[in-house]
Symmetry: C2
Subunit: 382 residues, 2 copies
């Protein structure tokens, strides 16, 4: 059932719900791990999130494809025994409860580590397992707001938008996956298992990249910049007659090429535009000059001119345009899932390609609640 | 020199420049790997990116802390010999050139794999190493535009903003790190080394999460939604007297709690608000009602009321407010680097915490160009 991949032979018991943890275990499944989703008898909350097709959440279906499901009441003795037998066979456990939940169930790290010394434990929580806010509840959007990314996104003077995708949860899932893979390697090399503790809020700070350094070195609070880069120019969206074009001239050589491709080599002679720091300082003026040039023709015209000159450039695609890009099919980035309830689904593929493994075009569907109970019990000899 | 961590003993030869590759190797260094940055004689382009302190790029300093540097001209025979001796000792090589560059240098995967059968090769390029656009140049902002994330971010009717942080490059770095760690595990378990091929454009699609599923199942093209979630309500920014508050009521229980905390339990009786799908359908009306309630008092008042009720909520912080959050110090998310040129720097810490490893408060600085040449040559016996 598992995909081919570098995590073949790894079994993950997954207690996580909604997105941050399930995104981590989705990636683990994509890398070849067997993921056994242990749900409460009422199931992952995400099973109630729309949109629905034939009554099944396609939101849930997209994040949980290729996993198995067993419903267990971790307060009931019989189900606890099943859970503990599962852990005997597992390499890692993943959970995204509020801190303390696992301890209340009797399955905190200290307890599990004594009984299962080779079991890796990965927790993705809103604020992490330490510190004064550790026990506060959190969701994606709360950490997007707290972590500062909204404050540097958007157009100056307008309300800060949420990042259109759940980067609060997704970043948490990504860092948890990195840490868990590193922990698996460490265990393989030394025999030692470790707990991984990732806070979604911490991950938002990590994603701020140079914004924190800019603030701590200059004392200036970064604000939203519309569609441009804070320290590289020209590196932003410009206006052609019928749409926006992004041009990213990341160094002086590309800047010279750009002035020629635009048919205005004299721009390169302007002393205000000689170096990237100067161009960055005179960005409003330079943007106005380039907008004026681009306004003389269409987006497609300029894109073909700039592409022919080898300049990094492109349109601002909507989702339909993005997945229609020829590279998407060539890179197998839209895979198919034959789901018995919803019918065929087209979902985003795996961006991690390996020379040693195939990247099949189809994936197993997300499981119905408790769908794999009989098979799992049989394997456990129960 | 390396940090304590699960990748202790792993050596990475890093040919990457600017951000996507260097962000991957920053994470590897944070996880305990030794990262040897092999730069051209003129150095990583990012050494020219501002802001500068005492002439040194703090942009470069933030992404390259804890790495070593040797400058090599890979077209010069003597330097090629040094490079090849380095690869003898390396576990992995990371590069983010345009596809074909390594082949032209005689160091493509096929060649390296024959000579160094245990060497893992990780490439992060704009469009990946296959497909008709493979050879196109790319930068962060180009893939942000192409991949669709800009089109679902921002306020309806306004120009699409760039995500304020370089999620094009950062996502590429994150997925490359996951894949590389998985490849290290696979090698440890089987002896087989693999090439990892990550395209930044593919990673943008992967980050779209449910937007692709929403489009492929409904045919509707997702647009920007300001500061709200597409399928959960209430899950957005609301207006108190003196500022915005994010409230994320991700399930019916939290919704009921919210109506009580706001002092308006009658909202829960409105048939339009009974379930999440209904609330999502009547979002404009519900937002107006909650805004009206919040406008009767201050942000701090409502945050303390909502926090006391256990509701996921928070302010929209700027970067200064974000790093002043008490959790930042408690989680060691602002570390210190004592850089001889710039003076002390405060940079974002590592969001991946392990029970088995310390998370020190200081890090080694980013290297000057070629700073570690003598030591490296000595180690190689050259």
């Amino acid at each position: 059932m598992a995909q081919p991949g570098p995590l073949a032979g790894i079994t993950v018991v997954d207690l996580s719900r909604i997105l941050a943890g399930p995104y981590c275990t989705l990636l683990l499944a994509e890398l070849g791990a067997r993921v056994i989703k242990v749900e409460t008898p009422t199931g992952d909350d995400a099973r109630q999130y729309g949109p629905f097709t034939n009554g099944k959440s396609t939101y849930f279906a997209s994040v949980n494809r290729g996993k198995e499901s067993i419903a267990l009441d971790l307060k009931a003795p019989g189900d606890r025994e099943i859970f503990e037998r599962l852990l005997d066979k597992a390499d890692a456990i993943v959970e995204n409860f509020r801190p303390g939940t696992m301890e209340r169930l009797g399955y905190g790290w200290e307890t599990l580590h004594k009984r299962y010394p080779r079991l890796i434990y990965a927790a993705a929580s809103g604020f992490g397992h330490s510190g004064p806010f550790s026990h506060y509840p959190s969701y994606d959007m709360v950490v997007q707001g707290l972590g500062g990314i909204m404050s540097i996104t958007g157009n100056p003077g307008e309300p800060s938008p949420r990042i259109g995708t759940s980067v609060g949860d997704l970043a948490g899932g990504l860092y948890t996956t990195i840490a868990l893979n590193a922990a698996l390697l460490h265990r393989e090399r030394t025999g030692e298992a470790t707990k991984v503790d990732v806070g979604l809020f911490d991950c938002q700070l990590a994603l701020l990249e140079n914004a924190i350094m800019r603030y701590t070195t200059s004392g200036e609070i970064p604000g939203p910049l519309g569609a441009r880069h804070p320290s590289i120019t020209p590196f932003e969206a410009f206006k052609a007659q019928d749409g926006d074009i992004i041009i990213a001239a990341g160094n002086d050589g590309l800047w010279l090429k750009l002035t020629e491709a635009l048919g205005h080599p004299e721009l390169a002679q302007n002393p205000n535009y000689k170096t990237n720091p100067l161009r960055n300082q005179h960005q409003p003026q330079l943007k106005a000059e380039i907008d004026a040039i681009l306004s003389t023709n269409t987006r497609d015209h300029w894109l073909s001119v700039l592409e022919a000159a080898g300049l990094p450039c492109g349109p601002v695609n909507n989702v339909a345009q993005a997945i229609a890009h020829p590279q998407v099919e060539a890179r197998n980035m839209l895979i198919e899932v034959d789901d018995a309830t919803t019918g065929p689904l087209k979902l985003v593929g795996n961006p991690m390609k390996f020379s040693a493994f195939d990247d099949p075009h189809t994936r197993a569907p997300a499981p119905d609640l408790d769908a794999d109970r009989a098979k799992i019990l049989r394997e456990l000899g129960m």
